[in-house]
């Protein structure tokens, strides 16, 4: 715990917060899509992120090419996995009581994590590609985090462009607001749900790839990202996609800032405490969303 906090330290922390925040925003956007379009709480979201991370690992170790290019593999692969999961299992718990989707996605998560443990073993893996940092004045910007940040921002912006400008994107937003009305307007709601889950999984997969170059990879790494995505959604308001963006940034900032004042252990707890606090004080999210 520091006694003297210099502006440089604050600056460092803010930058780190934003770097992390972009990743959280991107991944949480996926979870927001699933909850918004289908009212499903997807506990397996982080597990898909983990699979994306492993995709990157194997890409780098078997092909030896730039791991950032593995996004071209992990995103489509996870998209397809998402389609498969939605088509076979998740579709049956859409609009069901929350217990059903919680349990089902938990079951999927366990199955996938165990599959990963069986095939990849629980050994820690890592992708050593970029090391070192750029120095901007007193602030050190880790290269890998910076580039991951860049990709995260790009992908998130693309996702938003997609949601705002394309026909499918608009259909997704319409379905999130009111699925019954959307159906009456001729939108093929089951198909929208399918694609939404696929896209969300692709976002999770991308998150995994971008995280793989920074942190260690192991089968259970996804859980913490699921929780943080929950928090982001709660912060930003359910069904509020721009809210997910802001929520992610906020989480990143708060996490990093709290590491200035608290031990690393407790700053882990910050995310969870924040989750419970926000739920109790402003369940509609900081930006307001549906109270439903």
């Amino acid at each position: 715990m520091s006694i003297f906090i210099t502006p440089a330290m604050v600056g460092q922390v803010v930058i780190s917060g934003l770097l992390a925040g972009a990743l959280y925003s991107m991944v949480a956007l996926g979870l927001a899509l699933i909850f918004g379009v289908m009212r499903v709480i997807n506990i397996a979201h982080g597990t898909i992120l983990m699979l994306g991370a492993y995709t990157t690992f194997w890409w780098f170790h078997l092909l030896g090419i730039n791991p950032y290019l593995s996004l071209l593999a992990s995103m489509p692969l996870m998209f397809l996995l998402g389609l498969l999961l939605q088509r076979t299992l998740v579709t049956r718990v859409v609009d069901a009581p929350e217990l059903s989707s919680l349990l089902l996605t938990f079951g999927i998560s366990i199955a996938l994590v165990n599959l990963a443990q069986l095939t990849f073993t629980s050994d820690l893996r890592s992708v050593e590609f970029l090391t070192g940092a750029f120095l901007v004045g007193p602030i050190a910007l880790s290269k890998s985090r910076l580039i991951s940040f860049g990709f995260a921002v790009t992908i998130t912006l693309l996702a938003f462009w997609f949601l705002q400008k394309t026909k499918l994107g608009k259909a997704i937003r319409a379905t999130s607001q009111n699925s019954e009305v959307a159906m009456i307007c001729g939108i093929n709601v089951p198909r929208i749900r399918l694609y939404a889950f696929g896209i969300a999984s692709a976002l999770a997969g991308a998150g995994g790839s971008l995280v793989a170059v920074i942190f260690a990879i192991q089968p259970e790494m996804g859980q913490v990202y699921t929780f943080k995505s929950f928090l982001v959604i709660v912060l930003g308001g359910a069904g509020n996609y721009p809210g997910a963006l802001l929520g992610g940034m906020l989480l990143g900032l708060v996490e990093q800032l709290s590491s200035l004042f608290l031990t690393t252990q407790l700053s882990e707890a910050v995310a969870y405490v924040l989750l419970v606090l926000v739920l109790l004080l402003r369940p509609t999210g900081l930006l307001g969303g549906r109270a439903r």
């Binding site: 919680l102 929950f230 407790l266 739920l279």
Partner: protein
């Protein structure tokens, strides 16, 4: 029919009471854990089976009770029995603190809040190292007490099942169910839903706390990951669902069937076991969300206190 059931219960109780005299150490521990799962599944049933509020972090009470009891036994030389009871009280206190604000949340948000609560407890326990040993956990002084714990767990399971019976066959239980059926209508018909939800929640937190304390004594060692795992919450939920939530004997049946199956069959093939468990979850959720007794009860118009 009623008389036959009563007779079966009495005979069963006598048999179970005499069991430790003839059984091996392994069998006693098997039964002891079985009682524990019955108690957990039934406790979850009290809040979630009846009111429909999904407590997706119920293991938080178990863990809180475990740590409370462990600390009392190691640092203050308490006997494990009063320590476990205090663990139960700790669970209720926790439920009181978070129950009042959390129960105002709607369905999915309550579930997520409970999930978050469990993680908060886990991290808090890890943090206060001086008190809890942090990530290294707490080791209790060595004591062979399997037989006593067997009886204690059995008592816990019986206590919570009797509680379930009393509630479900009373108007209090009916009112709890109206909260599940249609909370707005229940409120409009004069049911103080906030108060009833809280009562059910408090009741549901006691036994997991007690059982957590007993578990700590039995295992001799606890750490944050072992007493706050999401898997435990899910397991007790699946047991309650499988047997039939909202009924008296459903959680008992579900716990007996699934735990026996798990111990006798799956535990031999570790990873297969996990995948099979995942399959069971999918089965229960998609095919039989009412559970065995739930289906039977609906079909044949039987009483819920069956």
């Amino acid at each position: 029919m009623r008389k036959a059931l009563l007779a079966a219960l009495v005979i069963g109780s006598i048999l179970l009471a005499l069991y430790p005299m003839v059984a091996t150490g392994y069998s006693i521990r098997f039964m002891l854990q079985l009682f524990m799962w019955v108690a957990l599944a039934q406790s979850w049933n009290l809040i979630s089976g009846l009111t429909g509020y999904v407590s997706f972090g119920h293991v938080a009470f178990f863990g809180t009770g475990a740590y409370t009891a462990a600390i009392l036994v190691t640092t203050h030389a308490w006997h494990w029995a009063p320590a476990s009871l205090t663990g139960g009280i700790a669970g209720v206190v926790l439920a009181l603190i978070i129950g009042y604000p959390c129960l105002r949340l709607k369905g999915p948000y309550f579930a997520i809040a409970m999930l978050g609560l469990n993680e908060v407890m886990r991290v808090l326990v890890s943090y206060f190292e001086g008190l809890t040993g942090g990530g290294l956990g707490i080791s209790l002084p060595i004591l062979y007490a399997s037989v006593q714990i067997y009886y204690a767990m059995a008592l816990a399971a019986i206590a919570v099942t009797v509680t379930a019976y009393l509630i479900i066959s009373s108007r209090f239980g009916l009112r709890l169910m109206t909260i599940r059926e249609d909370e707005i209508a229940a409120e409009a018909m004069g049911v103080d839903t906030a108060r009833y939800k809280l009562y059910a929640f408090l009741l549901s937190a006691f036994i997991p706390g007690v059982v957590g304390g007993l578990y700590a004594r039995d295992q001799g060692y606890i750490e944050p990951l072992s007493v706050f795992p999401l898997l435990t919450t899910v397991t007790m939920i699946v047991m309650a669902l499988f047997g039939g939530k909202g009924t008296v004997w459903g959680p008992v049946l579900g716990a007996v069937l699934l735990f026996s199956f798990q111990e006798l069959v799956w535990a031999r093939f570790l990873y297969l076991h996990q995948i099979l468990f995942g399959a069971i979850i999918v089965f229960v959720v998609l095919i039989m969300p009412r559970g065995i007794l739930g289906v039977i009860q609906q079909r044949y118009h039987l009483s819920r206190s069956l």
